[in-house]
């Protein structure tokens, strides 16, 4: 049977196993939307802004491990998708974003709703295609999914001029059995020689640290990571993107590292003699001043992307390969090795880390000690949330202090439960991302922890949540300010709060939620917090927006001292350096 370009696209998406397409229609995408109307393989989710479509597809992907799909029209539809593409690109999330384009003969003429989507998106996509022949659509879709999901994953754009989906032009659908691109063959298996060297280096360590990032989650290698540390018994830290890759409740877990990492994790990095970097990229939030980073450590670095290795910190033993395959090989090699790790030295090291934890570690029982306080501490909101959800929720977040508090205080024991924009730091990510997660896991608790600043960047998606009945719980940590900005102004700009407050013009979020057809709750006192959360979570089939007013003067600590600091240089509380 011959199909139109639009129908070819439907068939190709179906054959990729796509279950949801997040999108928004417009002129250049109308043929495609007509094809959508006629198909049943996937559900189309009509968002309220194309940014929401890309974040929702992204959240879906982060939670499921499958590629997310978004569909937008040309011009403003395409440009609205840019922030979502950049967000996915920075965190290596596999997305396929399909954009309508003006008709081929109009390209380059500044026609109505024409933008050069391929050009605009070039630096923030893994790859992009423009459809020049309708019959290529199946192949292009297949290649796009292949590229998005293999190697170091990332977003791929397919730009389709309107005439290529003309319903009157019909073509045969052909799907290749296998995709092989002569110019794209990402490395899977690590070099055995490097694995041997790494094993030797690791086993001769006295103060090893496992530093694991989002690559462990993307590469589905968390089980291997746990197995590795069953052998090593080394302290482990996760990056913001890696939380959940190693169980937070494990005794070797030190918490997150970096800018707002725990004291013990940052101290361990600074004092380590061997750092095993796994699927992490030594970015500037982790290393602080690179020349002062981990002065005595030898670096073993496992990553699927060779360009991530020795980019910022020189790796002594680079290992290029899929994280899973590399860890399997490393575990095998360590088991086979004749030398054993010096367990006495390692014990001393683990004791040292416990001492650091006792000295300046996070207080995970704040919710007990602050029970009588008048103002609500934002950290306590997260701790209460953790208990209310038994630590089992999918938690999305936005960007700011609230995001860091979740990363610090919600213990993620499983991968893919913590969904946040780490690399780009995109305010507005949390709510649409939660929609993608909830669609994938309708029976599971999905919480969006946000701030009154961030939530207003994609608030319109509350309407989508009603249309598709997505009973997400939104916890708005309301400090009546762009809290993270204000923290920096407090610390570095003499407390001059330039353009970071708006307390007299905030909306009534309870009424706002209600007007979108949802439930709104407001909490202003510590004594109401626990009960309100319980009430909200008891409303299983309603979206509940819980607006929690917190102490606006809280800062996030620890915080690395910059510029010219190493990772041992931290602010531990207001005006106090460790």
């Amino acid at each position: 049977m011959k199909l139109s370009g639009g129908d070819l696209l439907m068939r190709a998406l179906k054959d990729e196993g796509v279950k949801f397409v997040f999108g928004y229609p417009g002129g250049a995408a109308l043929h495609i939307y007509d094809s959508i109307f006629k198909q049943k393989a996937f559900e189309h989710i009509l968002v309220r802004h194309e940014q929401g479509a890309t974040h929702a597809a992204d959240g879906y992907s982060r939670a499921t491990g499958k590629p997310g799909v978004a569909l937008v029209t040309s011009g403003p539809g395409a440009t609205n998708a840019i922030t979502g593409l950049a967000t996915a690109f920075m965190d290596s999330i596999p997305l396929v974003v399909i954009s309508g384009q003006v008709q081929s003969h109009l390209i380059g003429t500044d026609s109505f709703q024409e933008t050069d989507m391929i050009g605009i998106s070039r630096p923030i996509v893994k790859h992009s295609f423009i459809v020049q022949n309708t019959q290529d659509i199946p192949r292009i879709v297949q290649e796009a999914f292949h590229i998005a999901t293999t190697g170091r994953p990332g977003p791929v754009v397919i730009d389709i001029p309107k005439d290529k989906t003309d319903p009157s032009q019909l073509f045969e659908y052909k799907r290749a059995k296998e995709i092989s691109l002569r110019s794209y063959q990402p490395r899977v298996l690590p070099h055995p020689g490097q694995i041997k060297k790494a094993s030797k280096k690791i086993l001769s360590a006295e103060r090893p640290v496992i530093y694991a990032g989002g690559g462990v989650i993307l590469g589905n290698a968390h089980k291997e990571l746990i197995s590795l540390n069953k052998l090593l018994k080394a302290p482990v830290t996760n990056t913001l993107m890696g939380l959940g890759a190693y169980p937070a409740k494990d005794k070797y877990f030190m918490g997150m590292l970096g800018m707002h990492g725990t004291y013990q994790a940052n101290m361990a990095m600074h004092n380590a003699d061997v750092i095993i970097g796994i699927g992490a990229r030594f970015d500037d939030r982790i290393t602080n001043t690179p020349s002062m980073f981990a002065p005595n450590a030898k670096i073993v670095h496992i990553d699927v992307d060779p360009a991530s290795i020795s980019k910022i910190i020189n790796a002594d033993i680079p290992i290029v390969g899929q994280v899973k395959e590399s860890l399997i090989a490393l575990i095998k090699e360590i088991k086979r090795a004749k030398i054993k790790i010096d367990s006495e030295a390692l014990d001393r090291w683990n004791i040292q880390i416990s001492q650091w934890r006792e000295k300046h570690g996070l207080d995970h029982d704040l919710y007990l000690s602050k029970i009588k306080s008048s103002m609500i501490a934002p950290q306590v909101v997260v701790q209460e949330l953790y208990h209310a959800t038994q630590g089992n929720a999918f938690v999305t977040s936005d960007v700011g202090q609230h995001q860091m508090f979740v990363a610090q205080y919600y213990h993620f024991n499983k991968p893919r439960r913590w969904i946040n924009s780490g690399g780009l730091g995109t305010m507005g990510f949390g709510l649409p991302a939660a929609m993608g997660v909830k669609l994938a896991f309708p029976k599971q608790e999905v919480v969006c922890v946000t701030g009154e600043g961030s939530i207003q960047m994609c608030i319109q998606e509350l309407s989508t949540c009603l249309q598709y009945n997505l009973p997400i719980k939104i916890i708005n940590i309301n400090n009546e300010a762009l809290g993270m900005v204000r923290q920096w102004q407090d610390m570095n700009y003499g407390g001059r709060h330039s353009a970071s407050t708006y307390s007299d013009s905030l909306p009534d979020f309870v009424k706002l939620a209600q007007s979108y057809g949802h439930v709104g709750m407001k909490v202003t006192k510590q004594s109401q917090l626990k009960k309100t959360l319980e009430k909200a979570f008891a409303m299983k089939d309603r979206l509940v927006f819980v607006d929690v007013y917190v102490d606006p003067n809280e800062h996030v600590y620890p915080m690395l001292v910059a510029p010219n600091g190493s990772t041992k240089d931290m602010w531990i509380k207001k005006n106090t350096k460790a």
Partner: protein
């Protein structure tokens, strides 16, 4: 230090823009750029010259390699190599310029009452020296091909 980077890439629309864009995006400068189809025409070979430390070039080549359309990347300056550049020069009659270009495989392509067009080729540094000594007097126009190069010996850039 000057680097000559050779790139074998799919001859597809947009492929060149991805490479050029990457230099800008990652903060590296392109000094010269040459590109043309090779083999069966489904490939292009690009030669880019840039300046940077060993580390810079390692990053550049790794990042270029990540571009999906790129098949192979090689830093020619890492080993022995051949490198040449071709120039076309238009000038008002000048014995001096003619003489300089003659010393660089110069050839006359046009000669009339007012102007002359000559070509020349040689190593980029020889070309550089020649252009300096030509100066501004009588010179009308120069077009340079940018460096092209190959590895010495067995080493080749192909699939």
């Amino acid at each position: 230090m000057k680097r000559i980077i050779s790139i074998l890439i799919e001859n597809k629309p947009g492929a060149l823009a991805r490479v050029v864009g990457l230099f800008h995006q990652r903060g590296y400068n392109i000094e010269t750029l040459n590109v043309g189809p090779v083999f069966d025409g489904s490939f292009s070979r690009m030669t880019v010259t840039t300046r940077g430390s060993e580390n810079d070039v390692e990053q550049i080549t790794k990042q270029i390699n990540k571009i999906i359309d790129v098949i192979k990347v090689s830093d020619l300056t890492e080993g022995d190599h051949h490198e040449y550049e071709f120039v076309l020069i238009k000038f008002k009659h000048s014995e001096k310029i003619q003489k300089i270009l003659k010393g660089l495989n110069g050839k006359i392509h046009e000669k009339n009452k007012d102007v002359m067009v000559m070509s020349a080729w040689g190593s980029s540094s020889d070309i550089e020296v020649a252009i300096k000594s030509i100066g501004k007097v009588n010179l009308l126009e120069i077009a340079r091909s940018g460096s092209i190069g190959l590895h010495e010996g067995e080493k080749v850039l192909k699939i």
